[in-house]
Subunit: 205 residues, 2 copies
């Protein structure tokens, strides 16, 4: 168990983001080994991209970059022992429903829910914007899907997701995943997770 | 020494690119340890960016991304024991002269020249578009700057750099650094160097 006086990092992730999926798969074991606590913070990348003048994923806007990303995902999945990566249609998926549900869940349920959403999306190729996909995930967790969806659709949760997204933008988040240490040090990308955990401890790599 | 029957990777780099600098500093020791031969291939990122609709570095077009990159460079430089990173003015630098000189040099002189250009640019903040900067580097290498600059300005070298840049674009290169294995497997980014070296040997990570 990670001690309650352990340093903390905030894990900012977006459900449509491929590299957030990899980070979600990796972060718990690595954080536990590093004795770092993780705050899971789903947010919406769309408004942040839009503020940068991007109307879609950079992986769609720049096809050569997108091609490399999908191949890189294949390699990472093989390396991590994950199922073969499936490109969901459309890509990126509309992640609003998943993000609202994750926001409304109790903190302790958020990691397992989030990982299940990513698996549904990138291993099974299911539409995460479909209520039935989210319901099945909640049910498999032993939760009450109708209750969780009602919370997700409530004004306070909608407002909280907007506020959290604005907090991310204000902190300088421009992509996902992003890791932010307690001193504000920011690391972008699944491949910076180890650096972020090292920084959380001794403010260096 | 790396054996002549060792697997090979091609190291595609652009002199204005910050992460290409880090790769240039790291690649020789890592490649030797992995028994992989490296072909150093400077190319021009400008035409490749332009073909993607980018009229400058993404680090300038997207300021939040640029801010993270410079901070990330600071952290990497500290980790690698490199001098403090200096942001050259303007950024990105015009790298045409350096790329032409590097293209015209004999293969065995290219790595040391390239590393010296990056140090001048990102450690000393010197303008690599200035002939005097390039001359000083060549002189310190014990070479004849006038002769090397004459070769760099010759039509065959100009044409070769154009052809090599077109070859990069055709291979799917969209940024720098990029590493390509003999089987065509492509890895983008300094942080994929270890993956590329592993792939060169056993076609997996």
């Amino acid at each position: 168990m990670t001690g309650t006086d352990a340093p903390q990092i905030t894990f900012w992730y977006e459900f449509a983001s491929t590299y957030s999926y990899l980070a979600a798969e990796r972060i718990e074991a690595l954080a536990e080994a590093a004795n770092v606590q993780v705050r899971w913070r789903p947010f919406m990348l769309g408004p942040i991209f839009a503020a940068q003048g991007l109307n879609s994923s950079p992986f769609n806007i720049y096809p050569a970059k997108g091609k490399h990303m999908w191949r890189d995902m294949d390699r990472w999945a093989a390396k991590l022992g994950l199922p073969r990566v499936v490109r969901p249609e459309p890509f990126p998926q509309n992640a609003l429903l998943a993000a609202r549900v994750a926001t409304g869940l109790p903190d302790e349920a958020r990691p397992a829910f989030s990982r299940a959403v990513y698996r549904a999306e990138f291993a099974d190729g299911r539409a995460i914007s479909d209520k039935s996909t989210i319901e099945a995930i909640l049910r498999a967790m032993g939760r009450d899907p109708a209750a969780d969806l009602a919370v997700a659709a409530s004004e306070p949760v909608k407002e909280r997701l907007k506020a959290v997204t604005e907090e991310a933008r204000h902190a300088g988040v421009f992509g996902a995943p992003t890791f932010i240490c307690e001193d504000g040090e920011m690391f972008w990308g699944n491949d910076r997770l180890e650096d972020a955990l090292a920084w959380a401890h001794h403010r260096g790599l």
